[in-house]
């Protein structure tokens, strides 16, 4: 029997995953050449970060059958990166990481196209992020993770039964390493917990009391933080310190050395200065490699369904022996970022005042004294008096107008609810639909509430 001959790809192992049926597969797994080709043709992956983890991720994803990659990173290459950020050479020092990383991977792996973006993640608009099938994070900051998480969750829509709508789900794969420890996690907004649901997993940064820094420094880190937090302002009045400016960092280092000499404290080095100021723990190349491999594999599983995905948080610890474990965290149903929020349907004529009154009677809310915010704009604030005054005139305007006359939107409200005579203050997410507005073509939604 002459079956069509399947062209082997450059990677036999990938073919084994994608061309053959299996038992422990994900939903909608449809093995075959078309799957492999579609992976190359239709899946666009954004890698956020081109540092230690980002370099690994780009290489791993490119070798896993993804052909359309983009990478975003605002940093330039430093000498101290070269030991582990293996795509970079000495002559690349000073060049943008994203650009060099993209070029090096394309040189080595035939057929892969990587578009670099040398800028901050906040500089890109929402349409930029909307374009990707999946976003993979190789970052070292909580702020940046929180930002991308909020972006990915902002695409998410729910149907009238509070079920996430598949076509609005933007999956994230998040990797992170700190020395010998690392994690890889899968965030399917609306299905698995988002970054904000479990932000407590990240311990807050240790902050030294300022008076200790000023009066009784005992460690090298104290001397560095003194230069960073106190001395800088004393000398450079008004000029903000930029941790990404090597001149600024050198200044901090020199001041920290002077301070350490004064108090007879050993151990201030340039790399420790960078580490303390930027809150970086020395990176270990093999931790990056392990975490990246896990992330790239999850990206492949999510897109192709060739296996069940990690559910949903893998930790790796190579510090004492080797320990790895997967924990299934649960979503915070009331999460302000990924949760569905309470569905409310309104006439376009309803004023903000009327809306606030409605919240008091709404059986799922029973919210009194509500303050209302929409996309970062304060519509009405109960307190303090200065804001109440500034927002009071909105009370007589239709909410529809205040929300920019779109058929639907997300509103956040704070206020108090009473349960069994005890008052608790709450912050809730609401998704508001307006009746009879052009643009609501979805009967499922229009008929909800």
């Amino acid at each position: 029997m002459a079956e069509t001959v399947v062209q082997p790809s450059r990677s036999r192992d990938l073919d084994k995953l994608l061309l053959r049926p299996g038992n422990i597969i994900g939903n909608n797994f449809d093995p075959g050449q078309e799957l492999r080709d579609d992976l190359a043709e239709y899946v666009k992956v954004l890698v956020v970060g081109a540092g230690g983890l980002g370099c690994e991720l780009l290489k791993d994803l490119a070798l896993s059958g993804f052909k359309n990659l983009e990478v975003i990173d605002m940093d330039t290459i430093e000498v101290t990166n070269l030991n582990r950020q293996f795509l970079f050479r000495f002559e690349d020092v000073g060049k943008p990481k994203a650009e060099v990383a993209a070029k090096r991977v394309m040189e080595r792996i035939r057929g892969v196209n990587i578009k670099p973006h040398y800028c901050r993640i906040e500089e890109k608009d929402i349409d930029f992020y909307s374009d990707f099938s999946i976003i993979v994070l190789g970052l070292d900051s909580i702020e940046a993770r929180s930002y991308i998480n909020a972006v990915a969750c902002s695409f998410l829509e729910y149907d009238s039964d509070d079920k996430p709508r598949d076509e609005t789900i933007k999956p994230l794969v998040d990797g992170g390493t700190e020395g010998f420890k690392g994690h890889a996690r899968v965030i399917i907004p609306g299905v698995t917990p988002c970054f904000e649901c479990t932000i407590w997993l990240f311990p807050p940064q240790v902050k030294f009391p300022l008076c200790t820094l000023a009066e009784t420094p005992r460690t090298a880190a104290h001397c560095i933080e003194y230069a960073h937090l106190i001395k800088w302002d004393e000398v450079h009045s008004g000029k903000t310190f930029d941790p990404d400016d090597p001149e600024h960092m050198k200044w901090i280092y020199n001041e920290a050395v002077k301070r350490a000499e004064l108090f007879g404290i050993p151990g201030v080095t340039y790399s420790l200065t960078q580490g303390v100021v930027k809150n970086i723990i020395p990176a270990i190349a093999s931790t990056n490699a392990i975490v990246s491999a896990a992330c790239a594999l999850e990206a492949l599983k999510i897109t192709t369904g060739c296996s069940k995905t990690l559910s949903n948080y893998l930790t790796y610890n190579g510090a004492e022996g080797l320990h790895t474990k997967v924990t299934e965290f649960v979503r915070d149903k009331d999460c302000l970022v990924c949760g569905p929020g309470v569905l409310i349907e309104l006439e376009t004529s309803v004023t903000l005042q009327k809306f606030i009154d409605l919240l008091e009677k709404h059986p799922d809310l029973l919210l009194s004294k509500a303050s209302v915010t929409h996309q970062g704009s304060s519509l009405y604030m109960q307190a303090p008096p200065v804001l109440e005054e500034m927002t009071r005139s909105n009370l007589n305007l239709p909410l529809f107008d205040l929300m920019g006359k779109t058929s639907k939107g997300t509103i956040h409200v704070t206020g108090t609810t009473s349960k069994n005579d005890t008052k608790t203050s709450v912050l809730r997410k609401l998704r508001v639909f307006f009746k009879g507005v052009d643009g609501v073509t979805d009967m499922d939604m229009a008929g909800g509430a």
Binding site: V43, I126, S133, I142, L210, C211, V337, S371, L387, S425
Partner: protein, 183 residues
């Protein structure tokens, strides 16, 4: 999910630039929590909050404190607050904008208040911080010095400390340092 991506890509090719739905501006979780803190503020008359950038930027605001007792009675001290998008995971950055003579606040406006740094916890809020700042004026303490000289004077000679504070607030020199009037 690949089928979904494929469908979307095809749709995108067909639609060319036809954009479905206006882009959504996302609000950080920090902004939302701050909004709650602000809407629940319950401040004494001596503390007044203001929003220099208007009602839509709550992440940067100012608090002025007019202590109604203690060494600093009659003075008016202004603090700037900068709140991070990952608030309350991280404490706000608070600086004193009024140059003052105080053992726990240095001449650059750095403030030594435990809940702003080592003792910050996400369950605390803006109200707690403002009360903490107020407390610094009613109970300045020489044990956590940021202004070393002021702390030494408070410890060794409270009468002289009081006189120095009055002089600084009225506008004048204390030692080598000039203070502008803030009463």
């Amino acid at each position: 999910m690949i089928r979904l991506f494929k469908v979307k890509e095809k749709q995108r090719e067909l639609a060319e630039s036809a954009n479905g739905g206006a882009p959504i501006k996302k609000q950080s979780a920090g902004e939302l929590r701050l909004h709650k803190d602000i809407s629940e503020l319950n401040l004494p008359k001596s503390c007044i909050i203001s929003f220099p950038n208007g009602k839509d930027d709550l992440m940067n605001f100012e608090v002025s404190i007019r202590p109604d007792e203690g060494y600093y009675l009659g003075g008016n001290f202004s603090f700037s607050f900068q709140v991070s998008p990952i608030y309350p995971h991280e404490a706000p950055k608070v600086k004193c904008k009024t140059k003052l003579y105080h053992p726990n606040i240095d001449l650059e406006g750095n403030v030594c208040l435990n809940i702003l740094r080592e003792d910050w916890k996400p369950v605390l809020n803006i109200n707690t911080i403002i009360y903490g700042l107020y407390h610094l004026f009613t109970e300045p303490n020489y044990e956590d010095p940021l202004n070393h000289d002021a702390a030494a004077v408070l410890r060794d000679n409270p009468k002289m400390f009081e006189a120095n504070v009055r002089r600084a607030m009225a506008g004048g020199y204390v030692g080598q340092t000039f203070f502008t009037r803030c009463m």
